[in-house]
């Protein structure tokens, strides 16, 4: 049943088709991502009202929350790709793991950095050992582990499989880590930090936030397309279609120069 349900996806598992699909999607995704990001961020920076408690510092939320959400979103999609890649031996899914990992790592770094820059004026310190912050830090380590492991093998195809397995192990562990850190945190300092009481956020603040979240998602998709194309080229370079593609590309640039 599972086989037939996803049969329509089969052509996209063919590297050549996927390469061209990503190439076609890339410009649209990129333009959309830049547009939504700028819209959300400029709206949030300049047009939303200031928070009555936090003043204008709260505007960091328009990058902090989206990057934090999608740092985890990227990890889940990476782990799903890893699972598909390993269980059904679909190679493009394995390559997607390597395409997503650096993007996720950068998103996590952004979330951590903006969190610190927000924490300094609000809590008076760059870093607190808060449960969420600690979990996010561990997430960054997991990303770095996946990236490091995938690069540690002389045979790239092997490294990518092992890194996929680590990504799956990580996703099993993330909830446990989060739960442990939360327990540890309440033991040590109590849940003193309150951010936003969620329902009370005003629509004039909420809309730009939602748009920014969408913008980060689109950027994630665009960057994944770009990086997946590189991965496909690396692992398919012995195939005739790659050679033909690059030959025709070289020809066209030559013609332009003439």
């Amino acid at each position: 049943m599972w086989g037939s349900m996803f049969r329509w996806l089969d052509p996209y598992a063919k590297p050549e088709t996927l390469y061209h699909l990503c190439g076609r999607l890339l410009p649209y995704l990129m333009v959309l991502a830049v547009f939504t990001l700028l819209l959300g961020n400029i709206w949030g920076l300049a047009f939303s009202p200031a928070d009555y408690q936090q003043g204008d510092s709260y505007r960091i939320i328009y990058i902090h929350v989206p990057s934090a959400i999608w740092s985890m979103g990227a990890y889940s999609s990476m782990a799903i790709a890893a699972f598909i890649g390993l269980v059904w031996q679909i190679r493009v899914a394995q390559w997607a793991v390597l395409a997503i990992a650096p993007i996720g790592a950068v998103y996590t770094a952004i979330a951590l950095f903006t969190g610190a820059a927000w924490g300094k004026p609000m809590w008076g310190t760059w870093w607190v050992w808060d449960a969420r912050l600690t979990s996010e830090l561990v997430l960054l380590f997991l990303y770095l582990g996946v990236i490091a492991l995938s690069g540690a093998f002389s045979e790239a195809a092997r490294g990518i499989k092992v890194a996929s397995l680590l990504a799956i192990v990580g996703v099993v562990n993330l909830p446990i880590i989060h739960f442990s850190v939360e327990w540890w945190n309440t033991l040590h300092q109590g849940a003193t930090i309150t951010k936003f009481a969620k329902p009370s956020i005003d629509p004039s603040m909420l809309w730009p936030l939602l748009i920014s979240i969408l913008g980060f998602a689109l950027l994630l998709a665009a960057l994944t397309c770009l990086r997946l194309r590189s991965q496909i080229l690396i692992f398919e370079q012995h195939r005739p279609w790659v050679r033909q593609l690059l030959d025709s590309k070289a020809d066209s640039t030559q013609k332009e120069q003439n």
Binding site: A50, D56, I110, A117, W118, R227, I234, Q237, K249
Partner: protein, 66 residues
């Protein structure tokens, strides 16, 4: 517009350092990742072309030996 003037906007109610530091770093990191991925893509293409040329040379050499 939530601000009365540009100077007020840049000042961010006294939180300029933190807000602009965050936004600046974020955009720098994103642009960096984009640039890095683009460059990587180009490098891979060049490497594959170089490899194809290498194979071509080997083949030519083998032809001339025959």
């Amino acid at each position: 517009m939530a601000f009365n003037s540009w100077t007020e906007f840049w000042a961010m109610g006294g939180y300029a350092l933190f807000v602009w530091l965050s936004f600046g770093t974020t955009y720098a990191l994103m642009l960096g990742l984009w640039w890095y991925s683009k460059r990587q893509h180009k490098q891979i293409q060049q490497q594959i072309c170089a490899k194809a040329a290498r194979e071509q040379r080997v083949r030519q050499h083998q032809e001339s030996e025959k």
